[in-house]
């Protein structure tokens, strides 16, 4: 058939026509703008509104930043230098940035918090990225003790003896594990560690200090402040609240009615009250509930409260992850004959935690932002310092420069965390979308 057709056709094109250029309105910037800015009359109005908004609110900021004064001793001097032009007085930052970062930490000892920052990065890296050498985890394990010693100073034997308690407990656990079964080795390890901490640690640390004195100058909690205190409270809270949150979540879905009741009560109570009231309890009421003459460091109390607060929220997030797990996973673990803790460790938790990563990181971000609340109980974090600086006669009337700096510091930390969580979610995704 087609052969016949071909014979009757007079002309057959053997080469393709070169494609002609698309019409001008369908290419390049014009097309992009037509599609993304002016696709309908509604979008035209929205675009114009957005441009008006940017013009009125963001464009005036440019000269403010460009003309900014970085060297001056007071706001008055800034205004003299600016001579009527618009401009920020960033001199307050060049004068006080160390204070905003480290609080009232002694200037000669700044290397300690700086080393702590660097060590934190090294310690967090192997947890965050699993393609790094596992040996880095040693730095992570030492970090809690190193952080306490670097920041608060004092005799190194004090910190080492506390760490030794963990070591002794572990050795005792391993030793008992060879002879005994079940939970008993764990209890033996715990008992050994507690006995060491309560009765032997003090004398041993004191003795070692008198034989081989070595330590850093002590820095009191009162001298901590600024970004440093946010980081200390935030990192401690994050590290401590995850395990507590997991336990609470497991308690809440357990089939032991009394355990479940206690966990539900705790979670609902903590989630029902504002953090600030818990901080008030820590700063005002804790003395009522402790035996006479026992006092806790204020920073420690805050860490405890922030941890409890965050762990209740984490428990709910993890409970969501546990609930989202198909029931077959639990049944399969049972069918394999795994014990409760084995099933949790090998089957349930890895999957449940993976599902709840976004929620967990959101909780961490919330916890980190909540550290700014400590200004209410007399700790000079960045906002507390900003208040103090604004009360200073030299800088009275300054606000945006300080708030932008503080906001930027928080933003970088929190945005970084959320980007990391999105990356992790993509990496761990096992389905094919």
């Amino acid at each position: 058939m087609s052969n016949l057709d071909a014979e009757t056709v007079q002309f057959v094109r053997e080469t393709m026509i070169p494609p002609s250029a698309p019409p001008g309105r369908e290419t390049g910037a014009v097309k992009w703008m037509r599609e993304n800015l002016f696709s309908s009359w509604f979008n035209v109005i929205m675009t114009l509104l957005a441009i008006w908004f940017i013009w009125h609110f963001f464009v005036p900021m440019i000269p403010w930043f460009v003309n900014g004064v970085w060297n001056a001793d007071s706001l008055r001097e800034c205004r003299e230098i600016l001579d009527g032009r618009t401009g920020g007085c960033f001199a307050v930052l060049s004068e006080r940035w160390k204070q905003l970062l480290f609080g009232f930490y002694p200037q000669t000892e700044y290397w300690r918090p700086i080393l702590m920052f660097i060590w934190l990065a090294v310690a967090a890296a192997p947890i965050m990225f699993d393609n790094l050498p596992r040996k880095l985890l040693i730095a992570t394990a030492i970090y809690p003790f190193a952080m306490v010693w670097l920041i608060w100073g004092g005799s190194i034997w004090g910190v080492l003896s506390v760490a030794a308690g963990f070591g002794l407990g572990y050795v005792a656990f391993k030793f008992a594990d060879r002879k005994l079964e079940g939970l008993i080795p764990l209890l033996v390890g715990l008992a050994v560690a507690v006995v060491w901490w309560l009765f032997l640690r003090g004398p041993v640390a004191g003795g070692l200090q008198s034989i081989l004195p070595f330590g850093l100058p002590s820095v009191g909690s009162r001298e901590l402040g600024g970004f440093l205190i946010c980081l200390i409270i935030g990192v401690s809270g994050i590290a401590l609240s995850l395990p507590i949150g997991i336990i609470l979540a497991l308690g809440r879905i357990s089939n032991l009615p009394l355990v479940k009741m206690i966990c539900v009560g705790f979670i609902e109570f903590i989630r029902g009250v504002p953090l600030i009231t818990l901080l008030f309890v820590a700063s005002l009421l804790l003395n009522y509930f402790l035996p006479p003459k026992v006092t806790f460091d204020l920073v420690l109390r805050v860490i405890v409260m922030v941890t409890l607060f965050s762990s209740a929220y984490l428990a709910e997030v993890i409970r969501g992850g546990l609930a989202a797990l198909p029931k077959g996973q639990y049944e399969a673990a049972d069918a394999l004959g795994l014990s409760y803790w084995q099933a949790q460790r090998l089957i349930i938790m890895p999957q449940a935690l993976k599902i709840s990563i976004p929620g967990i990181v959101n909780s961490f971000i919330g916890l980190f932002m909540d550290t700014s609340l400590v200004m209410f109980i007399g700790i000079f974090d960045m906002l507390g310092l900003a208040k103090a600086i604004r009360a200073n006669t030299a800088w009275i009337g300054i606000y945006w420069e300080l708030y932008i700096f503080i906001g930027l510091v928080f933003w970088v930390c929190c945005f970084g965390m959320s980007q990391y969580s999105q990356w992790l979610e993509r990496k761990l995704r096992t389905d094919h979308h």
């Binding site: 599609e35 993304n36 800015l37 696709s39 979008n43 929205m46 675009t47 957005a50 441009i51 908004f53 940017i54 079940g182 939970l183 089939n255 032991l256 009615p257 009394l258 355990v259 206690i262 609902e268 109570f269 029902g272 009250v273 504002p274 953090l275 600030i276 009231t277 008030f280 309890v281 005002l284 009421l285 009522y288 509930f289 402790l290 035996p291 006479p292 004959g337 795994l338 014990s339 409760y340 099933a343 971000i365 932002m369 909540d370 700014s372 609340l373 200004m375 209410f376 906002l383 009337g397 606000y399 945006w400 708030y403 503080i406 906001g407 928080f410 933003w411 929190c414 945005f415 959320s418």
Partner: protein, 406 residues
């Protein structure tokens, strides 16, 4: 959960079964947990008693009925310093509820707008909304509250700037609104006698509109004929109310703020602490709601829209009958918990001096009476009750929209 070892019936009960037999282990663990918690509670209460005794204090809520001896500048109900602490607490509670209620409404409006616009195909608007959401979600609410308050108090003109023949500042919106560093003044409506009838007409017309919508739905199910329900209901409510309003001779007049002497008089003064708290809470929570709304809309798969179109539904019907019912199931529970967060965050009013629940019972009353324990317990209890009410409302809603699995 674990592989239970069968108990050996012949030898009877052995002590080790308390640990190794899953039937008894559950009891062992629970008894131990309760003992531990009970012991802790016992210790804490014992310490509390001995500490209170050592300081010569007792636990008593009698101070609530004593005169408060302080003034509250912002109060929804009349309050003077001779009123009781209990009334002061109630004033604080009302202020908390006021800012929380208005904050929830504004946050919802901002959040839905930003969430929908972030999905818009308008590049510049979508990017602007992304900037808004990421900026507010990643900076502490406390900083926003303080910054907005600083903006309102330091970047706005003093009332004196409005004075003279050539004032440096002028009132906004055709001379009805004055924004000053002492607060914002807006017109205040003064209701005259006939206004009660208008209000009654308004309520009755809403009831009428509800009945109309019910009737229309019933008619639709029986005959398949549709009416523009929304517009007719709107017309009923506003038509009737406006008619009564006109018939009664417009029984409302406005008290406008005007500069007399050194300050504005007349109108309604909205204090800066309240405004700052309201805006900051709404903008902060709005950013979270925007993300929830965006996630909810994205969670409805595209196939649903396509299926609705294939059935011949118009876009508006598709939205109302297919997308929204599914998206709302995802959206509403987290939004309610954001409302809960907003309510709890309103306690940060402390930073800018808005007198809320924390400012009365947890602030001045506590300092005046020196009863920290009672005040903090009472404050926590009130917040807890508010939270429990909101979360039980959420549970009711969740139960009602739960997928019916058969």
């Amino acid at each position: 959960m674990t592989a239970a070892t069968d108990p050996d019936d012949s030898s009877g009960f052995k002590l080790s079964q308390l640990i190794y037999d899953t039937r008894y282990r559950a009891i062992t663990i629970q008894v131990l947990t309760v003992l531990a918690v009970g012991w802790m509670a016992w210790e804490l209460i014992g310490n509390l008693m001995s500490n209170l005794a050592a300081r010569g204090k007792d636990v008593s809520f009698g101070f609530l009925l004593n005169p408060a001896n302080y003034d509250i500048t912002e109060s929804l109900i009349p309050f003077s310093s001779t009123d009781t602490n209990l009334r002061a607490t109630f004033v604080g509670l009302l202020n908390t509820l006021l800012v929380a209620f208005l904050g929830c409404i504004l946050a919802l409006i901002i959040g839905i707008t930003a969430g929908v616009l972030r999905l818009s195909n308008n590049w510049i608007v979508a990017k602007l909304m992304t900037v808004y959401v990421e900026a507010f979600r990643n900076i502490p609410i406390l900083l926003w509250i303080i910054a907005v308050f600083a903006l309102l108090t330091e970047a706005t003109p003093a009332p004196s700037a409005f004075r003279g023949d050539d004032p440096t500042s002028t009132m906004k919106l055709w001379d009805t609104v004055a924004i000053t560093n002492r607060g914002t003044y807006i017109p205040r409506p003064i209701f005259e006698p006939g206004m009660g009838l208008v209000a009654i007409a308004f309520v009755l017309s809403i009831i009428g509109a509800i009945f109309f919508v019910r009737w229309s739905k019933k008619r639709f199910l029986e005959t398949g004929k549709t009416l523009p329900n929304f517009w007719i209901a709107l017309a009923i409510v506003f038509g009737v109310t406006a008619l009564v309003f006109l018939v009664m001779g417009m029984p409302v007049s406005w008290s406008l703020p005007a500069l007399t002497g050194f300050n504005f008089q007349g109108g309604l003064q909205i204090n800066n602490p309240f405004l700052a708290l309201w805006f900051a809470l709404s903008l902060f929570t709005g950013a979270f709601i925007a993300e929830i709304v965006r996630g909810g809309i994205l969670s409805v798969s595209k196939g649903q829209t396509e299926a609705a179109f294939a059935l011949g539904m118009r876009p508006s019907k598709t939205m109302n009958l297919v997308i929204l019912p599914q998206a709302l199931r995802v959206i509403i529970p987290p939004i309610i918990s954001q409302f809960l967060n907003l309510t709890k965050n309103s306690s940060l009013a402390l930073a800018i001096g808005y007198v809320d629940l924390r400012g009365t019972i947890g602030g001045t009353t506590m300092n005046v009476t020196g009863r920290e324990l009672e005040c903090v317990i009472l404050m926590m209890a009130i917040y807890l009750v508010i939270s429990l009410i909101i979360s039980s409302a959420m549970n009711l809603y969740n139960a009602s929209v739960k997928l019916k699995e058969r």
